[in-house]
Amino acid sequence: MLQERNMDNADRKLINLLQEGLPLERDPYGVFAAKLGVSREEIVERTGALMREGIIRRLGGVFDSGAMGYSSMLVGAHVPEDIFGDAARFVNAHPGVTHNYRRSGFLNMWFTLSTVCDEERDAFLEELRRRFALSQVFPFPRLRSFKLRVFFDMEGA
């Protein structure tokens, strides 16, 4: 599933290791270096290149928002075309909105909203409805998780 890029095997292995996460110990890249057979310096260099090329979006802490006290909600909305841009800017300005997509179909805006309490979420959705005269803004609470995968195997294809 790789796009043609100047990635080699060491890059793919490195991406897999970086997705699994750095060891939380003194010399994390030393552990990777031993696995990949390249130096720490080269690992840092390759990682920087993968970030500049945009293959790695971010290298940092991945937190459990639930354990941090936040709950997230998927929201789908029908937003008329003439106000779509303004509504998107309003939604995106909320710091708890982490993902927002324009999608095909009747509900054409889908975003995830993380808040510390239900009242904050409800108030924001009410303000969105009021400000843009939207009658179709629906929260879709998660009832059960069947799969949550964030690992993309770079060596599998």
Binding site: M1, G21, Y29, R40, F63, M68, A88, L107, F140
Partner: protein, 153 residues
């Protein structure tokens, strides 16, 4: 969590410093020892707050050119079986049961990623046909309006 945890979390929400000893660099920025940073990281991990320090990929650039949220109206007594089947597909990254509403009858959601949209469409139509799911919809990702990590505090 104390002040140091909060400062450490704030640092970790940015990109990790690109140095051969990133935790030492963090320690220097925070004015504490490398051992302290590592101990704090391990404690945040043990409490479940920090899942990992790692890379998040940009799917499109990593070869998953087509992305869609696929929704099915799954019969309640079939939910478990269909959800687990979808979860087995390598095309599916996330799969949830969600509450429907009067205007939106779908209850089973799958985030799907493929080389192209045809791969996803073919999988979905075969899946729906095989399992007698009469109502479903493929919501293509037409534009990424925002994608970020949640900022805490």
């Amino acid at each position: 969590m104390d002040e140091l945890d909060l400062r450490l979390i704030a640092e970790l929400q940015e990109n990790l410093p690109l140095t051969v000893a990133p935790y030492r660099t963090l320690a220097e920025r925070l004015g504490v020892s490398e051992e302290t940073v590592i101990a704090r990281l391990q404690a945040l991990h043990a409490s479940g707050k920090l899942k990992r320090i790692g890379a998040v990929l940009r799917h499109q650039n990593s070869g998953y050119a087509a992305n869609a949220m696929v929704v099915f109206k799954a019969p309640p007594d079939e939910m478990e079986r269909l959800g687990k089947l979808l979860a087995e597909s390598p095309l599916v990254s996330h799969c949830y049961e969600r509450a429907p509403c009067a205007e939106w009858p779908y209850t089973l959601y799958a985030m799907m990623h493929g080389r192209n949209m045809e791969t996803i469409e073919e999988f979905v139509s075969i899946f729906a046909l095989e399992h007698g799911v009469e109502r479903f919809d493929i919501l293509r990702s037409e534009e990424e309006l925002k994608k970020s990590s949640l900022s805490f505090f």
